[in-house]
Symmetry: C2
Subunit: 225 residues, 2 copies
DNA sequence: GCGCGCACTTGATATTTATCATTTCCAGCG
DNA sequence: CGCTGGAAATGATAAATATCAAGTGCGCGC
């Protein structure tokens, strides 16, 4: 592994509070790789032998079933992929696919579990990441069960980061976003139309929330934490 | 706390591999309580000051939003409630309500986090429980996005434990089960009718799967892991 | 510049699911 | 024994969403 890659692994947010020697031993066990867009990292049903860390880029976790498929969630820099499968040594429930060119580090599952068992700080970091992800999933389930399509889109948009320029660049194709939001691509298209009078302007993958307040009100953003 | 309760806490599955002294110190910090059915343990939005462990009984985690509510998941003996909120010290995203009379132990969040940081075995146990729960949620999201109502019911029934007598006793009222499965109570009722020709006999809360194979085929049980 | 392919949109229609109103069932109780 | 109240089932209807079939826009390579 190149020194740059080693440095990238060592400075990953997940390892922030982990003692340097442990981080270094993890980094040395890593293999890094740059994947093109739309590359498959692993598939549903496979046994996890590696823990994947995203060093840069974006990866979607996709649920697959009888002919159909839907994005469950997409993760970016600093996130570990499907720690649950790796920790329990059970087959993946999801397929991972890159959304854009992505740099990943892969640590042998055995190594990771071993370091985890003797490094409380790493264990705590994993717990915190799992806990954050858990809450992301809970919000999604609440959304799916309690809100209609257009409201889900609205609250998704409100939750997106728009620190730069106030405009959102959708992290995936609309077709995939439809899956993430639990609706058909056609319905997503109509949902965008529905949101127009509520302060959302969109063209292509860039979306602007014109009237934040109106949109929050439309989807009861605050009622559903 | 009574010696029996202390013993109950000490022998909880979650603590199986945790050294006795640590378990004992946790147990001593516990307060135990027996709650009647339909009692609220905590509410959405509250700050978690305690970690709740289920010693016996059953508790539903309920998502609440604008007038509506839906069971996300129900947990039984040996499970910790919403460790993510406790670990991150963030407000609960869900409300917890007992489904039947339930005995819970409550450990101050601070104490739990402190013991966790110096007991790798406890950290590992929490990771494993979080990982299992994560996978439960993933399955639910896949179900919601990829299957229709009746199929969700079918796969839910197939996943239930029927070790005793081959018959299932639904762990909650049908109204709540409808929420768990992401549909209206009326629709659940019709879904049961729909499953009748596929080998499901039900009366009240007891359900019998007459023809396992037919039901598996109906909902593509194996296609969706 | 001009097709070409591909993602997205739009329209028409079918299906699924929710809602509301009513009825049935059944446990608990005087 | 019949009454009563809540849960569940059923029926009728409405709303949400999916599906299928064009159409539109647009980047890209020739």
């Amino acid at each position: 592994m190149s020194p740059e890659d080693q440095h990238r692994v060592e400075t990953i947010v997940l390892f922030k509070d982990v003692p340097m020697p442990a981080v270094r031993s993890l980094a040395q066990a890593c293999a890094t790789q740059v994947l093109a867009a739309n590359a498959t990292v692993f598939r549903t049903g496979e046994q996890p032998s590696l823990l994947h860390l995203i060093l840069a880029g974006r990866i979607a976790l996709i649920g697959e079933g009888a002919g159909d498929a839907a994005v469950i969630e997409a993760f970016g820099e600093g996130e570990a992929l499907l720690t649950p499968a790796v920790m329990l040594d059970r087959p993946y429930l999801l397929t991972a696919r890159t959304l854009i060119e992505t740099r990943v580090a892969a640590i042998p599952a055995e190594t990771f579990r071993a370091v985890l068992d003797r490094e409380p700080a790493l264990a705590r970091a994993v717990i915190n990441q799992l806990a954050r992800h858990w809450r992301v999933l809970i919000r999604q389930i609440k959304d799916l069960k309690l809100r209609a399509g257009a409201q889900r889109l609205a609250s998704y948009l409100l939750a997106q980061d728009r620190s730069c320029g106030g405009s959102i660049y959708l992290p995936m194709e609309r077709r995939l976003l439809a899956g993430r939001l639990g609706m058909s691509p056609e319905h997503l298209s109509r949902a965008f139309v529905q949101l127009r009078p509520h302060g959302v302007a969109s063209q292509g993958r860039s979306v602007t929330i014109v009237d934040d307040e109106a949109l929050r009100h439309f989807c009861d953003f605050d009622a559903l934490i």
